[in-house]
Structures are given as structure tokens and as C-alpha cells.
């Protein structure tokens, strides 16, 4: 009975294929057709441009506080490209590219972040959950969906996302453990953008990588360059294939960087340096991928301009659509706060609805009266 090391049959790899200078490791390059590559590019760009436009809108007071996604396009797109429509996608809140690819409309974003529940109503046929604000809680839904697939003997898979900060929540632990115990077909993708608001990852944890947490669950884990859409694609491909073939869950840590403040309400100058930001800015995923596409002659300046123009038009159309929608009674009427809580509205809730309806009517009447009389004392 001597003291002896226990062999732990787990290895954590680091994967990078297309580096920050768009240098390519051709031995690892995935085989993707021109159409596939352009699709990926298009949704990454759409997410970026949508993000930028929402920032403008926010500055103009036409959008609420929201978390920007810029810089996270490769993690989202590289992973989601591996799954089918009838697989499930359980985002946190920075996976704009993947969501758009899955079938969300720009309208969903514009509405959601502007204070309309309707933004969280996915189009029919999309097997996605909406964004999830309470950190890490969505990971258990993903695990449960995966468990349900096993119960129903369906060969689907689930992709789910969380941040470096989210990894500290108890729910993250429970989700990884449930998925592992029940061998649920779930791929857990950590967008390690190195900050949880102001808290840097080295204050979030002392372990060297998030990927090594996989060892704690007897689950395959890998770390990859999260600004490299090809690396994310390949890492996820392995994990998705394993999951689909009954091999259970995996953990992918994708190292990236938040190019923007945490949300439009945040000031990152307080907690991170310009130099650091600059360094990571040069590593951002979109430019690198664009260079790769140019190098491969998959994309030309003209084609790129065409895509930009198309996206611009798409964004403008969505903005207009939202402007119309939010004027409709369905979207604008405060009474709709009561209408979707239960399948059938209970009597006591109907009474509260009536109470508010009466109040709004009398208020409108008062408004009309005061408009004609010119006085305007009462609130909101």
C-alpha cells in the first residue's frame, strides 16, 4: 500500500488553426465549401453590423441597455454551424451570429433589447431558447433537453453557451454533472472572454484553464482559440459527432475577448488597459476570417461590398418592421402583460387586468381632457 499517483485518463488539448495574422495550419483546416464559408462569414458580419447599429440606436434612446456581441462571432458561428435545425441551441446572450444563422430575426434582437417580450418569441420551427439573463441557469435547461433526447431516443444534440464568469455558478457545476451522469448529448461551450463585467478570469478561478474542469466530470474537454472560427468549428464538430453517437457531453473553452464594454451601461476603462484592449483588438475574429476568405479566393472586394449592402438593407428593413410592429396594439398595449402568463387567465388575475384596463381608460380620458384644458399635472 504505498502512496501512488492515480492515472487520470484525460487530456486537454489546445487547438488553433487560423492565427491572428490569418496564417493557416493547413493540416488542421476543415473542409468547408465556398457556400458554407460564405454563409458563416455572412452571419458573423450580420451579427457585427447588427451589434453596431443597436449601439447607435441605444445612444439615440431607441434601445435599452444591452450586452454587445462584437468579438464573439467566431465562437458562436464556428460552433453552431455543426448542428441542424432540429438540434437545439441554448444561448447565453452574446451568440448573435449563431442565433441569426439558426433563424432568429433581427427583429427579435431589436425588440428584446428594447423592452418588448415579443423579442423572445422565436419564429416557429426554431429549436432555440431565447437569451438567458440569470447567469448559468440556462445550462441546466440544455442538460434537461439532452436528457429528454435520450429518454425519447432521438439522435439530436444540444449546443449551449456560457461565460467565464458563469463557470463559477453552482448551476454550471450541476449542469455539467447531470449531463455527464446521464450522458446527455450536450456540448457546453464556454466563451471565455476573460472578464465577467470587471472581474478578470484570474480572480474568477485559480485553475489554469476552464477546459480542465472537464476532468472533474469525466468528460472530454478542449481549449481553442475563440477568435478562430475554424478552430471552434473543428472542436465543436468532434464534440457534436461524439454526442450524436452516444458519446455524451463535452466541454469546449473558447478563448476570446469582449471588444466592447460589458453592456452599454459599462465603462471598461475602469478595469482594463488600452494596451490590453489594443492587443486583443488585433486578434478579433472577423478580420482574420475575411483575410482567410480573400486568401482562399472565396471572397472578393466586390462580393464583400455586396454582402455589406445586403446586410445594411436587411438591418434597415428590420428597423422599419419593428417601428411598425411596436405601434400595433398587440405590442403596445400594456394589458398584454396579463395575457401570456398562464394558458388560461385565472379569475383573480383577470380582475387585476380589468383594474388596470379601467385605470388606463380613465387616464386616457384625463389626458384628453387635460389636453383640451391645457393643464397636465398627473404622473407618467
Amino acid at each position: 500500500m504505498p502512496r501512488k499517483p492515480i492515472p487520470i485518463p484525460h487530456q486537454i488539448d489546445y487547438l488553433s488553426i487560423l492565427d491572428e495574422n490569418a496564417e493557416l495550419d493547413t493540416s488542421l483546416e476543415p473542409k468547408l465549401s465556398k457556400e458554407e464559408l460564405l454563409t458563416m462569414y455572412r452571419y458573423m458580419l450580420l451579427a457585427r453590423r447588427g451589434d453596431e447599429r443597436m449601439l447607435l440606436m441605444q445612444r439615440q434612446g431607441r434601445m435599452g441597455t444591452f450586452p454587445q456581441s462584437s468579438g464573439h462571432e467566431a465562437v458562436s458561428m464556428g460552433s453552431v454551424f455543426n448542428i441542424n435545425k432540429n438540434d437545439w441551441h441554448v444561448p447565453a446572450y452574446r451568440e448573435y451570429a449563431g442565433c441569426l444563422y439558426r433563424g432568429w430575426k433581427l427583429e427579435n434582437f431589436f425588440l428584446y433589447w428594447n423592452g418588448f417580450e415579443e423579442g423572445a418569441r422565436m419564429p416557429e420551427g426554431v429549436n432555440d431558447l431565447p437569451f438567458c439573463v440569470p447567469i448559468a441557469s440556462q445550462l441546466l435547461h440544455a442538460a434537461g433537453i439532452g436528457m429528454a433526447m435520450n429518454i425519447r431516443k432521438e439522435k439530436q444534440v444540444v449546443l449551449t453557451y456560457f461565460g467565464d464568469g458563469a463557470s463559477s455558478e453552482g448551476d454550471c457545476h450541476e449542469a455539467l454533472n447531470f449531463a455527464s451522469v446521464f450522458q446527455a448529448p450536450v456540448v457546453f461551450i464556454c466563451l471565455n472572454n476573460q472578464y465577467a463585467i470587471s472581474v478578470p478570469v484570474h480572480k474568477q478561478m485559480r485553475n489554469e484553464t476552464i477546459a480542465q474542469r472537464a476532468i472533474a466530470y469525466g468528460m472530454p474537454g478542449i481549449r481553442c482559440d475563440g477568435n478562430d472560427v475554424l478552430a471552434v468549428y473543428v472542436a465543436t464538430k468532434e464534440a457534436v459527432e461524439r454526442a450524436r453517437n452516444g458519446g455524451g457531453p463535452s466541454l469546449i473553452e473558447a478563448v476570446t475577448y469582449r471588444l466592447t464594454p460589458h453592456t452599454t451601461a459599462d465603462d471598461p476603462k475602469k478595469y482594463r488597459s488600452d494596451a490590453e484592449h489594443q492587443k486583443w483588438f488585433l486578434r478579433e475574429p472577423l478580420g482574420r476570417f475575411r483575410k482567410y476568405l480573400f486568401n482562399k479566393k472565396v471572397l472578393t472586394e466586390a462580393e464583400d461590398a455586396r454582402i455589406e449592402a445586403e446586410i445594411d438593407a436587411e438591418i434597415k428593413a428590420a428597423m422599419q418592421a419593428v417601428e411598425q410592429l411596436t405601434k400595433t396594439d398587440e405590442y403596445a398595449n400594456p394589458l398584454n402583460m396579463f395575457d401570456y402568463l398562464y394558458h388560461d387567465i385565472p379569475p383573480s388575475l383577470q380582475a387585476q387586468r380589468d383594474e388596470l384596463a379601467k385605470h388606463l381608460e380613465s387616464k386616457n380620458a384625463a389626458k384628453k381632457a387635460s389636453k383640451s384644458s391645457g393643464k397636465s399635472k398627473q404622473a407618467h
Binding site: 416557429e124 441557469s137 429528454a148
Partner: protein, 326 residues
């Protein structure tokens, strides 16, 4: 069908529901081979297999969070929390998600699930094993909260809960599990969620209760009938959210007096809400303040003193007498 106790009745409903609907699955700690620490899941694993009767790791948020995922996927999960005193661990999943998905997605995604948990005191259990905090759930919009009081309504309400399109908290008064038996019909039946039951029709005073306390309330009413010649009306709420205001109010309008009884803490408990609704809809009919016989605003004491904490027939009788003499 034979006379069965409440534990058996709940077990029967689980068997029936799992037989008729293969989307129904049961998950929780020790629900499988152990058949539940109160044997409520007896026979399920043997009959329906590991795929649908799932022993989970020891993690309540995990149980409820994955049940939410299953419900979103299209199953009808029934999550068992071993004791209600541990469901605080998963409250955030219920509040943030189970209660909100339909509303959040404007009806696009729903969470038809049941969370079952034994609650309440009176069985000489350890600390944290006798809690009664149903008011927290009643205060949580988007949930329904059902509390049976006997074998027959336990079975029927569990079916209703499982068939409901929304998340239902189904709290089982564990002191009643094996307290008494009742005839349940051969055919499975449901009871409408949100509807109270008039256990006794009367005219002098309304006693409003639910769950384990209902037994004490019933006993008290019998004493009042026998010893005082008083005719109490006894309301068993059965659903505490949404509350059946109409039945409460109709009764109090008739009797003019009321006592509310429950074992959870008093402040912001169900008794407060019942009184508020009486105030709103029947104030002018009141001949006396509505009394509350409830758990006190302390944790339920360890078991040596729990009977002094819980509502009992004596306390209710006295409260009724005081209310009648007011």
C-alpha cells in the same frame, strides 16, 4: 376501489399518469430503486424503467432545471424534491424560468411540469424537514400551487397538475400520508385547479384551511358542532394559487366571521392574503376580525416542540369561540 391512504393515492396517480402518457417522467433523489424516502414512487422503476424513473445526483437546482429543459422539449416531467425545506435550492430555477417561459416567449414555449415535495410538520423529523413555505410560491406569479388534504383529492389534483399546461407546485402534507384512508373511485379523475372545496356547509363561521391543517380544522369544527352547537362552514382551499376568492367571499358574506388556519409562518402567509381578499370583497359583512391560527414567525422548532407550533383543534376552537363572541 379499495380504501387507500394519501401516500398510496399519490402513488396510484403516478402509475396512472405514466401509463396513459409516455411523456410523463419522474426524477429526483432516491425516487428509483429506493422508491422515494416516503415510498411515494413505489413500483415505478420496476414498471417504467430507468429511462422514465430517474435517480438524479443530489442537486435540487439540477433536478428542477433539467425538468424545465425536459418540459421545454415536450416531456411532462414530475420533479420530486425530497423535502420542501430543500426546494429553496431550486427556487431561482422556478422563479426565473418555470414561471416565466410562457410569458417571456408570448406563448411560444411552455413549461408543463410538476414539482412535488412533502411539506409540513408533525412527523418528528429533523431540522429542515418540517417546513411549510407555500406562501413563497403563492407569491410567485406564473406558478400554480396545489395542496391536497386527503387521498381522493390528492390523486385527482395530481392528475390535474400533470395535465396542466403550466408549472404546478404540488405540496404534499406529509403528516397526512398515512393518517387515514378514503375510498377513491375506480376511474381516474381530475379536480379543477383553482377551486376550493366546501367540506362542511354551515352558517355561523367560516373556517378556511388546507393541507395538514385541514384535519385540525375539521376536528375543531366537529367540537364546535358538538360542544357549542355552532354550525361552521369549512373551506378546503386545495389550490392556494390562484386562490378561489369567490368561495371564500361567498362563505364569509354568509357567516360574517372567519378563521384562517395554516402551519406556515404568519407574516405574509396565506392567511394574510385570505384576509386581504375578505377585506376587499366582504368587509361590510364582517362581524369580527378574521383570526389567524398559523405557524408563528419562527422556524418550526425541533420536533420536541413542534406540536406547540402547529395549529391544532384546541387553538382553532378557541379562535372560533373568540370570533363568535366578539
Amino acid at each position: 376501489m379499495a380504501q387507500i391512504n394519501m401516500a398510496k393515492a399519490i402513488n396510484l396517480a403516478l402509475h396512472e399518469a405514466m401509463t396513459r402518457d409516455d411523456r410523463v417522467v419522474v426524477l429526483g433523489e432516491d425516487v428509483g430503486i429506493d422508491e422515494g424516502v416516503f415510498r411515494i414512487t413505489e413500483g415505478l422503476l420496476a414498471k417504467f424503467g430507468e429511462n422514465r424513473v430517474i435517480d438524479t445526483p443530489l442537486a435540487e437546482s439540477g433536478i428542477v432545471g433539467t425538468a424545465i429543459g425536459m418540459a421545454l422539449y415536450g416531456l411532462r416531467p414530475i420533479a420530486e424534491i425530497q423535502f420542501s425545506g430543500f426546494d429553496y435550492y431550486n427556487y431561482h430555477q422556478l422563479e426565473c424560468h418555470a414561471a416565466r417561459f410562457r410569458n417571456r416567449t408570448r406563448g411560444r414555449l411552455t413549461v408543463p411540469m410538476v414539482m412535488r415535495a412533502p411539506y409540513g410538520g408533525g412527523i418528528r423529523a429533523l431540522e429542515h424537514h418540517s417546513e411549510s413555505r407555500e406562501a413563497i410560491y403563492a407569491h410567485t406569479p406564473g406558478l400554480k400551487v396545489v395542496i391536497p388534504s386527503g387521498p381522493r383529492n390528492a390523486r385527482a389534483l395530481l392528475h390535474s397538475a400533470i395535465q396542466d399546461g403550466d408549472p404546478v407546485i404540488y405540496y404534499e402534507p406529509k403528516a397526512c400520508y398515512r393518517l387515514f384512508k378514503e375510498e377513491v373511485p375506480e376511474q381516474m379523475e381530475t379536480l379543477p385547479i383553482g377551486r376550493a372545496n366546501l367540506v362542511l356547509k354551515g352558517k355561523d363561521i367560516t373556517v378556511i384551511s388546507y393541507g395538514a391543517s385541514l384535519r385540525a380544522a375539521l376536528e375543531a369544527c366537529e367540537i364546535l358542532q358538538e360542544e357549542d352547537g355552532v354550525n361552521p362552514e369549512l373551506v378546503d382551499l386545495l389550490t392556494i394559487s390562484p386562490l378561489d376568492t369567490e368561495t371564500i367571499v361567498d362563505s364569509v358574506r354568509k357567516t360574517g366571521r372567519a378563521v384562517v388556519v395554516h402551519e406556515g409562518p404568519r407574516t405574509c402567509g396565506l392567511g394574510a392574503e385570505v384576509i386581504a381578499r375578505i377585506n376587499e370583497h366582504a368587509l361590510l359583512y364582517l362581524e369580527a376580525p378574521v383570526k389567524r391560527i398559523t405557524g408563528y414567525d419562527t422556524p418550526i422548532p425541533y420536533f420536541q416542540k413542534e406540536m406547540a407550533y402547529l395549529p391544532d383543534a384546541d387553538k382553532i376552537v378557541n379562535a372560533c369561540r373568540e370570533t363568535l363572541e366578539f
